[in-house]
């Protein structure tokens, strides 16, 4: 009886371990599904923007002729390159080089921060507001909604940074970091489309 119980316990332990592994797999799958779904919100907003832009007669509010593209382009370059930086961070983690990981993660956060700051400066300098016609509405809605995502990404990264100091944190896998990185790439791709729609297509 006791022998059987011991074997049973052993089997159960094995199952638990397999389950832990499986659950990391599931989390990753689930996260990708979630991101795909999230993409649809942006597609919806983009479709709205395109419809408004092609059908509205007084697109720009009075006194506005278009958007300044220079600073936003800088911003774009910084954000897009940060995608590579976080990739490097991830590689370091794979090689178990924690300090390299932390430094590059910090760099990503700094670049994200720079982007948000640049966005804030731009918003402050604009002469139109959220309620100024369809252009004002869609502009702030799109950039604001994307900005929220950038902020979320940075928060996730600081969480990952903090957790990297917990000993043994990566023993059961590094799903958190992978998800954060995936999310960051997502935010990036969305921005490229957004930038094209709002700044390039004027």
């Amino acid at each position: 009886m006791t022998v059987e119980r011991a074997i049973a316990n052993q089997t159960e332990a094995r199952i638990r371990q397999e389950q832990a592994h499986e659950s990391a797999e599931n989390s990753k799958f689930g996260f990708i599904v979630f991101l795909l779904s999230e993409t649809m919100i942006f597609l919806g907003l983009f479709a709205g923007y395109i419809t408004y832009k092609t059908t509205t007669t007084d697109w720009y509010p009075a006194g506005v002729t278009g958007l300044e593209t220079r600073e936003p382009l800088m911003n774009t370059i910084v954000l897009v390159s940060s995608s590579f930086v976080i990739y490097v961070a991830e590689r370091y983690l794979h090689d178990r080089k924690l300090w390299g990981f932390r430094i590059f993660l910090l760099a990503t956060m700094a670049m994200g921060g720079y982007f948000l700051w640049g966005q804030a400066v731009e918003w402050r300098g604009l002469t139109f507001g959220f309620t100024d016609g369809l252009f004002g509405g869609t502009f702030y809605l799109l950039t604001g909604f994307h900005g929220l995502h950038v902020l979320t990404g940075i928060l996730l990264q600081s969480l990952m940074l903090g957790r990297s100091f917990i000993p043994g944190n990566y023993e059961s896998g590094m799903f958190g970091v992978e998800a954060t990185s995936l999310f960051w790439h997502f935010v990036d791709v969305i921005w490229i489309v957004l930038y094209t729609l709002i700044y390039v297509w004027q």
């Binding site: 089997t11 499986e22 599931n26 799958f29 689930g30 779904s37 597609l43 809605l141």
Partner: protein, 560 residues
């Protein structure tokens, strides 16, 4: 090692049974057991079914006479808005998520959903949605009165001028319900993709699981788009933007596209699980395999795909251009093809079987009869010129109640009866069940059929008063409505008394095939003592084929 699993390991069977009445307290906790959550969903949403039904009873009371004499027009408008919203967002969606939650892990041989905690969070948002909706009756200006579509400009008119108004709370509630649904959908899709038992290939997965997958995929692509539209509407209502406000240059028609891009597919989110339940119930009670199982399974996915490109059929009479009307007419009608595949397969399934008219079987058959009728009127509506006359009349109301009540609620009742012995370990009372069915079927016919002639005669929907020429059919409908309301009572009586002191049912009272019937009733926490290995397709009636490997087999397949 082979003989270990033959006797249940004490540690597992000592776990409390989630369905047992003695630990009902679990249902009020943040439990992460998918079975507890499933029951939480079903019971909570049934409460809201009664709430929404009570609204409907007041509406039918108003409509029994032509004049607006029972409630003020604004109250009537709030009633139908909240009736529609409660019935959809607090009854149909959550109850189906609940049934799926309970059954999917059992049917695919998993111990739980992929993300149990997320699951619990999704559920606990539902009561909050309910509270928000109910509280909106108490704020100045009353509950939302813009219909369940919340079309602008009416929805952004806000006569009280308050920031917190009925429409605001409504939007908040719908947004929360959307978040809950997305989390649920991620959970279901991951569970179904990643956690099927060994050997359960796609074409060994039960049709119900397929239909849940098809439905949840719709949530994933549709809901976010509605969210985008809802955010814009909220910002028009509360922050003064002009997205949909014509007086400020906005475009109210665009909102309609956002709304129906989701809300049309949403009707298939609701009906697909009902189809899935029909596909499970019929083979069991006709004792024949599901006819053309593979095609039936795939047709669910086909519906998912087609339903994404038909939304303009709700906007034929809006300011849509002719080419758009024609294009969407063709796509709309094509939905008849996968729907027909299912219907014909069901008919062929019962054909030549050994039919037993148990309560679940009756509800499934009743649902199919109603479905063919409602589907045919759906095809009528799909035709642009025909829709132009009956759009926004009671013909449409008749069409969709035939589906929403006659198919989906029938399916839900059928499903609850069918799996009641599994969920509670006890048998419901067959006599009460049959009484419930007869009253429900008659009530559905009496209230919803007269709506069709009313619509053809030109009675608009959403009116508290109407011309006297419509009085006759409205009286019939109201009486039928009251009958349908009463029909709920035997169901409640049946469920409550059978759960408390029904006959013990045994693990598999229907002698049904399917993993969920191989475990005990009610199933233990974590469902299976050992995850089964599936070796044959579902619905093996008359084939003498075991569904899962016995232990010797399992050993054999595990050794490389």
């Amino acid at each position: 090692m082979a003989n270990i699993s033959l006797e249940p390991t004490p540690s597992i069977s000592a776990q409390p049974y989630p369905g047992a009445p003695d630990n009902w307290r679990r249902f009020f906790t943040f439990s992460t057991d998918h079975k507890v959550i499933g029951i939480q969903y079903i019971v909570t949403s049934f409460f809201f079914f009664l709430v929404g039904g009570t609204f409907a009873m007041i509406m039918r009371g108003e409509l029994i006479t032509p004049d607006a004499d029972l409630v003020d027009r604004t109250v009537y408008n709030a009633l139908f808005t909240m009736h529609g919203s409660v019935m959809l967002f607090l009854w149909t969606f959550p109850v189906l998520v609940g049934i799926g939650n309970y059954l999917v892990p059992l049917m695919i041989g998993a111990r739980d959903m992929a993300f149990p905690r997320l699951n619990a969070v999704s559920f606990w948002m539902i009561p909050i949605v309910g509270i928000l909706m109910m509280v909106s009756f108490l704020v100045p200006g009353g509950a939302s009165q813009s219909g369940w579509w919340a079309y602008p400009p009416v929805s952004i008119q806000n006569p009280t001028g308050n920031l917190i108004n009925g429409q605001f709370l409504w939007l908040l509630a719908v947004a929360l319900s959307g978040i809950s649904s997305i989390m649920g959908a991620v959970n279901f899709v991951t569970t179904i993709f990643k956690m099927r038992a060994p050997g359960m290939t796609w074409f060994r997965t039960p049709a119900f699981v397929w239909s849940v997958l098809a439905a949840q995929l719709i949530q994933l692509y549709g809901l976010p788009v509605l969210t985008a539209g809802a955010v814009m509407l909220l910002s028009d209502l509360s922050f003064g933007t002009s997205f949909f406000a014509p007086e400020r240059g906005g475009n109210p028609i665009l909102y309609q596209h956002f709304f129906w891009f989701y809300s049309h597919p949403a009707v298939y989110v609701m009906v697909l699980p009902a189809f899935g339940m029909f596909s499970e119930i019929l083979p069991v009670h006709a004792r024949k395999p599901l006819f053309g199982y593979r095609v039936v399974a795939v047709s669910s996915i086909l519906i998912t795909l087609i339903s994404g490109v038909v939304w303009v059929h709700h906007m034929y009479a809006s300011a849509t251009p002719g080419w758009m009307r024609m294009l969407f007419m063709v796509t709309t009608m094509l939905v008849a093809v996968p729907s027909g595949i299912k219907v014909f397969a069901w008919v062929a399934t019962i054909w030549g079987g050994k039919i037993r008219l148990t309560t679940p079987m009756l509800f499934a058959l009743g649902g199919i009869i109603n479905w063919v009728f409602a589907g045919v009127t759906g095809i009528f509506l799909g035709s642009v010129p025909i829709d132009i006359h009956v759009n926004n009349t009671y013909f449409v109301v008749g069409h969709f109640h035939y589906v929403l009540y006659g198919v989906i609620v029938f399916g839900i009742f059928g499903g609850i009866y069918h799996w009641f012995p599994k969920i509670t370990g006890r048998m419901y009372y067959e006599g009460l069940g049959k009484l419930h069915f007869v009253l429900t079927f008659a009530g559905t016919f009496l209230i919803f059929l007269p709506m069709h002639p009313l619509g053809l005669m030109g009675m608009p929907r959403r009116v508290a008063s109407y011309d006297p020429e419509f009085a006759y059919w409205n009286v019939v409908a109201s009486l039928g409505g009251f009958l349908l309301g009463m029909a709920t009572l035997p169901f409640i009586l049946n469920m409550v008394s059978a759960w408390i002191r029904g006959e013990p049912a045994g693990n598999n009272p229907w002698r049904a095939y399917g993993l969920e019937w191989l475990t005990s009733s009610p199933p233990p926490v974590e469902n299976f003592e050992e995850i089964p290995t599936v070796i044959s397709p579902p619905y093996g009636y008359g084939q003498d084929q075991p569904l899962i490997a016995t232990n010797e087999h399992q050993e054999a397949t595990q050794v490389p």
